[in-house]
């Protein structure tokens, strides 16, 4: 077995089990990914890990692209693809199975009650997600204020395109930094 294949296999063997352990979203995996990547496999240094984490936060998309970046660092494009598939495939298959099973009960009293009962919890979890991101954001009170303003604007004018709002936020903060406002 060549070294390349061995490396790809090691990536898959690290990320595939994590896929099924990541209950509560990608953030719950951060500590374990760091441990595997820095201490056990020495794929990245501590510093490189912190940089890759910052890049993964800046990119769009769901959950963590951190595994993709570690795979890329270790084994280029093949590594990036291997790590991404390993992290997302097992959990996706599990959810797919659950969705199929769940679909069979559609229309029953229980299905309706469970859907209706889970709805307010999901709304609470979405709000909690916003609070969690706000908490880890390094920008401080300015970010809190801007987040509240952005919430109010979207609620007041639902047609407002979020990307326009994102761009405005980026430009305003960039200008504030350039002019030394804080």
């Amino acid at each position: 077995m060549s070294d390349d294949i061995r490396t790809l296999l090691a990536l898959a063997l690290v990320f595939a089990p994590l896929s099924l352990l990541s209950i509560g979203g990608g953030a719950s995996l951060l500590a374990e990914i760091e441990h595997q990547s820095v201490t056990i496999h020495a794929w990245t240094t501590q510093r490189e890990f912190a940089d890759l984490f910052a890049i993964s936060r800046a990119a769009p998309g769901p959950g963590t692209m951190l595994s993709t970046l570690i795979g890329w660092k270790v084994a280029g494009l093949a590594g990036a693809l291997t790590a991404t598939v390993a992290l997302y495939l097992p959990s996706s298959l599990l959810v797919y199975g659950a969705a199929r099973l769940w679909g069979r009960w559609r229309g029953s009293v229980w299905h309706t009650a469970v859907e209706r009962g889970l709805a307010p919890i999901a709304a609470g979890l979405i709000l909690s997600g916003g609070i969690a991101v706000l908490r880890v954001s390094p920008g401080g009170p300015a970010v809190w204020a801007a987040a509240v303003a952005s919430t109010a604007l979207i609620l007041r004018w639902p047609g407002l395109h979020p990307l326009a709002l994102f761009a405005t936020g980026g430009v305003l903060f960039g200008l504030a930094d350039a002019t030394g406002l804080w």
Partner: protein, 208 residues
């Protein structure tokens, strides 16, 4: 209640209408490229981890492919199961729209854009290095993105759950998970039976 287009077409040819499979689309079959395109757009625009907020806007509000209830139950299940909540919700919506191929198209659409972007960023970052100005811009973008997440949660509270029971459940969830930072799984498993029980009790009073 509309008759499924597929069933109508088959009846028109004088063939017995097939029974709709569980989870198959109820109105019209949405084409796989359309699913891929919608989720690709979602993937490259959902900054700040607010995939659920974007998905609500694009798939529920704009395209009406699924309704509020389906969105919320998918979001709840997506967060309870292992994996990224956004990807899990996408798998469920894709499956709901077009079964297995739909789920595959949706997930590939969602992930391919961000994958390319994050790699491009990594290459660029390796050349430029860190900068305070870039950090400030990213903070601004993040703040607006958080606003989108809050607005989605509040919209759902405001219009869809406007009775005391569900409202209290939403507040309790937000307080425990968001503010007090209790672990999500025990909180959800504690509140879910109460909330589902309330829904069962209220069943007769509402449209079923």
């Amino acid at each position: 209640m509309r008759i499924p287009l597929r069933a109508r077409a088959i009846e028109g040819k004088g063939v017995v209408a097939e029974v709709r499979e569980a989870g198959a689309p109820r109105v019209a079959r949405i084409k796989l490229p359309a699913i891929f395109a919608a989720f690709f757009r979602l993937g490259i625009t959902s900054f700040g981890g607010g995939t659920a907020g974007w998905l609500y806007r694009e798939i529920v509000e704009r395209r009406h492919w699924i309704d509020d209830k389906e969105f919320l139950s998918g979001a709840a299940l997506g967060r309870l199961m292992p994996g990224s909540g956004g990807v899990n919700l996408t798998v469920q919506v894709g499956h709901h729209l077009r079964g297995g191929p739909g789920a595959l198209a949706a997930v590939f659409g969602l992930l391919s854009g961000p994958l390319a972007i994050v790699l491009a960023l990594a290459v660029g970052y390796a050349r430029i290095g860190q900068s305070a100005a870039l950090d400030a811009v990213l903070d601004g973008v993040a703040a607006a993105a958080i606003g989108l997440t809050f607005a989605t949660g509040l919209k759902l509270v405001q219009f869809k759950l406007a009775s005391a029971g569900p409202l209290i459940v939403t507040l309790a969830t937000t307080l425990c998970v968001g503010v007090l930072r209790w672990p999500m799984i025990p909180v959800v498993f504690g509140l879910a039976p109460i909330s589902i029980g309330l829904a069962l009790l209220n069943r007769r009073g509402r449209n079923v």
